[in-house]
Each structure stands twice: as structure tokens, then as C-alpha cells.
């Protein structure tokens, strides 16, 4: 049984560019959450998708947007990249809302 998968593993972008990160949830899970983890910090909640709708959102600007597809996979889009967006982006899937299983993450570097 495959766990949560994310692509790409690493990404380097330039300030002002746009990026799309992808996530496939664990088999049987219908909810996907995205987190940003800065170096030396714990993950911070960006938003959560359920039934193809954004159900809850953390304290992130509108430059961060997402999408969930009918097969429950999800994308995270970040527009107008800033240097401060450099971080590890984690996707988590869940069936029980609080018990979330994380993917390996995408390391985004903005130069």
C-alpha cells in the first residue's frame, strides 16, 4: 500500500515565478492538507481540501492556492514567489480528520 507521495522532490525557482507542487494521498484517504516547514521550525498549516473544496485555511496569503481532483490528489500553487517561500512543503492525507499521514515533502528553494 503506497503512502503519501509528493513530486517533485526538489525545486529551484527564481523570485517572482510561479510553482506547482503535487500530492497523491494514501490509499483510502479523502482529505489532503498542506503544510510549510521552515528550517528549524515545526510544520505550519496552509490549507486543507476535502471533496474538491478548500475546507480550512491557515494564515497564508492568497498567493498560495490549491486544488483537489476527483481522485483525491491535490496541487499546491504559489504565485509571485518570494525568498521567504523557501521551505519544505509537506502534504498530509487523512481519513480520520486529526490523524494525518505525511509525504516526504518537496524542498523549494527560491533564489
Amino acid at each position: 500500500d503506497a503512502g503519501v507521495t509528493q513530486s517533485p522532490t526538489h525545486l529551484i525557482k527564481t523570485r517572482g515565478q510561479q510553482v506547482t507542487l503535487r500530492c497523491s494521498p494514501k490509499s483510502g484517504h479523502d482529505t489532503v492538507s498542506w503544510y510549510q516547514q521552515a528550517l528549524g521550525q515545526g510544520p505550519q498549516f496552509i490549507f486543507q481540501y476535502y471533496e474538491e473544496e478548500e475546507r480550512q485555511r491557515g494564515n497564508f496569503p492568497d498567493r498560495f492556492s490549491g486544488h483537489q481532483f476527483p481522485n483525491y490528489s491535490s496541487e499546491l500553487n504559489v504565485n509571485a514567489l518570494l525568498l521567504g517561500d523557501s521551505a519544505l512543503y509537506l502534504c498530509a492525507s487523512s481519513l480520520v480528520f486529526y490523524e494525518q499521514y505525511f509525504g516526504p515533502g518537496t524542498r523549494l528553494t527560491v533564489t
Binding site: V4, Q6, T31, S33, Y35, G40, Q41, G42, P43, Q44, F45, Q48, Y50, R55, Q56, G58, L90, A92, S94, F97, Y98, E99, Q100, Y101, F102, G103, P104, G105
Partner: protein, 113 residues
């Protein structure tokens, strides 16, 4: 404001001994608490959770204790093994939410052989 705090950035213990990782929180409306373990270049791995209506939950070598009056939880690992060396995060879920987890900053555990 930091609603979930792990005040010890690091902890070192000898193999076979007990590891105790601590976490404090400020919001009395949290209804679930979780512990995750994270190795470098991997995502956090779910370890154990506890509901706010309980004060203890065990799973093998891992036990989580919850002291609601003190707004404090701890993770006990007995016996500690070198493979337990990782960063440990506590996380809390607020009642009325649908899955937003609030994480502490993490504690790096080193288990020495």
C-alpha cells in the same frame, strides 16, 4: 503566538534508558494531541495520539501522558533505541476544526549506543 511549545531543542539519552519528550500548550480547546517523528529528508511519521478526555495512551514502547490542568503532555519511549534518534514534534488539533494541526518547534532526540 506559539500555542504549542517544545522548550527543549535537544535531548540525549543512553540506549536502553527512558526518553521523555515534553510539550506545553496554551489553548484549552485542543481536543486531540499527536506525536510525530521525523528523520532527515523524510516527512513526519505519525507515532501516537491521545484524546483530551484521556490522560494516558500506550502503543508498544511509546506512551503519551496528558495533564490537562497543567496544559502539558509528554512522550515516553522505553527502552530507547539508536533508531529512535530523530526530531520529535508534538501537534495539537482544535475542537471545531476539521484537521488543522498546530505543531511545536520540535525536539531532537539522540540515543547513544
Amino acid at each position: 503566538d506559539q500555542q504549542v511549545k517544545q522548550n527543549s531543542p535537544s535531548l540525549s539519552v543512553q540506549e536502553g534508558r527512558i526518553s521523555i519528550l515534553n510539550c506545553d500548550y496554551t489553548n484549552s480547546m485542543f481536543d486531540y494531541f499527536l506525536w510525530y517523528k521525523k528523520y532527515p529528508a523524510e516527512g513526519p511519521t505519525f507515532l501516537i495520539s491521545i484524546s483530551s478526555i484521556k490522560d494516558k495512551n500506550e502503543d508498544g514502547r511509546f506512551t503519551v501522558f496528558l495533564n490537562k490542568s497543567a496544559k502539558h503532555l509528554s512522550l515516553h519511549i522505553v527502552p530507547s533505541q539508536p533508531g529512535d534518534s530523530a526530531v520529535y514534534f508534538c501537534a495539537a488539533h482544535g475542537s471545531g476544526n476539521t484537521g488543522k494541526l498546530i505543531f511545536g518547534q520540535g525536539t531532537t532526540l539522540q540515543v547513544k549506543p
